[in-house]
Symmetry: C2
Subunit: 394 residues, 2 copies
């Protein structure tokens, strides 16, 4: 009775829901503090105090009809201008308000961009492992997600593999750096090579191939590692940003899309993305949050706290004998499993540890451990990880 | 280069954008106060003071991780429970939090519901005149919008016409009451007849046909007219509500979906709608606004102010010789045009009057005049309407 697409999704959804229910069952049985739930990318650190101050300031100073009213589907011009200025200052770009569309988080932004670009049967390439929702987003518009196999040496993207997977039907390449789930930051060298592949393929096929840069983790990079700004490497780049992680506002659904003026048929793409924002039912990004984040463009979350967690968890897991990539960004640890990853994630539950199998990211043999949790959760979890390691003879 | 669907929309969009640009051009030339812009359903009255109080209260009392964090895709359980209780009290229904999904406004809710129900080629029926976006929303999921011709006698829906337009492919009927653009409130008698037609057709075809009740204007009804609550008339009813108009929060994108427990395969429909909320990129309705509106369930906007506008405009227009339906709800006047409606709307611009041709709502021969404006705008516009009437010999 419901749509066939949704029926398939409802059936596939059961694995994820089973994990939620398992977490709740374990918490009820052992107490929430004795369950080590590393399954979700929900920041445990509060939004900076500046966010509350900004919201109250907006409510105090601005007219309610303006604050809560409709504006252009692209968002408030003033907000888009302030974001453009901030990006220009940070990255030496030359954006204006005409390059920015406010979006309902990065997930909303990605859907707007994919709806703008895709015809049925068009292909969207991404590197494994990848955020599981990309497949759903691309299928929303009857596109086909094409996954480049993982480069398990260091999880940098492999441009040589990429080249063979681009076809005349390729409309876009989704790049997610800092990466969910590996924590890897794609290097400028990787990006340059990717850009060269795409330039060559655009010429070969006479098509436009967009990089869609999914950047919710841009501000979460450690040890001073630089996260290259992709529009500077490749002109057909569209950026989808979100404040979900950088300001710990995931529930607010606030982000933006950047469409550079130098992109092919910029004006048409921009106009179509504004219309897609409207017809997909977003209409516009939430208005109060638009005005609030514009006052917090210099703010970031406490990266130091994530860094502490990163080091603590990495040391703890490697001391247990596990093999992990030391993450350069985001808040995920990508750990090799000594057995089938789904079996391993199942075994971990016996010790009240919840992690997501790599299979869910198109890359079996690993699990993703989200360390956006309280430090105490990591500390308490380490003896449980030790027992899990011993079960596998590590 | 962009998708073909978007290309068509970008081309059709030009008429609406032309109106925006015309409004700005006129405002620059004559001053904003001398332009009578009745084209948009953007409430000119501010949100009640209780909304600001509620937002500040949430920020002061609740933990920031809770206020701005992820929750279930359906929304906070406490918020959904409070809404269910409020509906039960007002309408004698028996909803619980398991019947409510928080949505990104009614537009987001409609997209979630249509994505949940539609397979390509499925038909969605609605009564003319109708909100122009319905066609776009239905086409998002490759459905076909089927419009029942307008009953120009009184713009109540015509159930006898409806019957002949239901086929085995009909998945839903969208009902919008109080109606945009006519301001008509569908009577209990009309609803009962519609329900009888759908019941008979469900039996005849062995299908489930849903009423989708698009209810952003529910609270805007005048003279004590009752707006029937549709789940009580027909069990396969899904309600899409929004606080855009009732609390003057259109920019915040906050509303909800009701899926009654007695609907066919309720649990499957509910679960699928939660997944659709996620995969379409909404993820969840904006979190702070969820918590704020839950504290304002007894609040409404100043219906008296709209009522004043309604009477003032109706008297002014009929005094000029125009023929209008006296609206029972919403904030639109539906006026018969003495010439082709597009030509008439074009002529109105000469007098700095901006109205939307009925053709945009699938019903030529009328214009929609949105009176959600300042009273002074209506007062100043009446001499201009008088000149317009004289131009047409009224």
């Amino acid at each position: 009775m419901i749509s066939e697409k949704m029926m398939k999704l409802a059936q596939n959804n059961s694995a994820i829901r089973a994990m939620f229910e398992e977490g709740n069952r374990l918490a009820a049985q052992y107490g929430r503090e004795n369950v080590y739930d590393f399954s979700l990318g929900n920041p445990n650190f509060p939004a900076p105090a500046a966010v509350k101050k900004a919201i109250v300031d907006v409510l105090d100073r601005e007219d309610a009809v303006f604050v809560h009213g409709y504006m252009s589907n692209a968002g408030y011009e003033s907000v888009r201008g302030a974001i453009a200025d901030s990006l220009n200052k940070r990255f030496g770009t030359a954006f204006g308000d005409g390059n920015i569309i406010m979006s309902v988080g990065a997930a909303g932004g990605l859907n707007v961009v994919l709806r703008t670009l895709l015809n049925p049967g068009d292909e969207v390439v991404t590197f494994s492992p990848y955020f599981v929702e990309y497949g759903n987003y691309v299928r929303n518009y009857d596109g086909v997600l094409v996954a480049v196999p993982a480069n398990t040496a260091d999880f940098q993207p492999d441009p040589s593999m990429l080249s063979g997977m681009i076809t005349p039907k390729t409309k876009a390449l989704i790049i997610n750096s800092p990466n969910n789930p590996t924590g890897v930051v794609y290097s400028a060298e990787s990006i340059r090579k990717i850009a060269a592949v795409l330039e060559a393929k655009q010429k070969e096929y006479g098509t436009s191939i967009f990089i869609i840069a999914d950047e919710p983790y841009r501000e979460l990079a450690y040890d001073g590692v630089e996260v290259p700004y992709l529009t500077k490497f490749y002109k057909n780049t569209i950026v989808c940003y979100s404040w979900s992680k950088s300001l710990s506002l995931p529930g607010e659904r606030i982000g933006y899309i950047v469409i550079p003026g130098e992109a092919d048929e910029y004006q048409l793409v921009f106009d179509a993305a504004c219309i897609a924002t409207r017809v997909l039912g977003f209409v516009n990004a939430p208005s109060l949050q638009q005005l609030a984040v514009a006052r917090c463009l210099e703010e970031t979350t406490d990266v130091g706290a994530y860094d502490t967690n990163r080091k603590l968890l990495y040391k703890g897991l490697t001391d247990c004998g596990f093999t992990c990539a030391f993450p350069q960004g985001a808040f995920y640890m990508w750990m090799k499993t000594p057995a089938d990853d789904r079996e391993f994630a199942g075994a971990a539950k016996k010790y009240n540890i919840l992690v997501v199998p790599g299979t869910s990211f198109g890359c079996p043999g690993y699990v993703r451990i989200a360390y956006c949790v309280a430090k105490a959760t990591i500390e308490r979890s380490l003896p449980a990880f030790k027992k899990l390691a011993q079960e596998y003879g590590l």
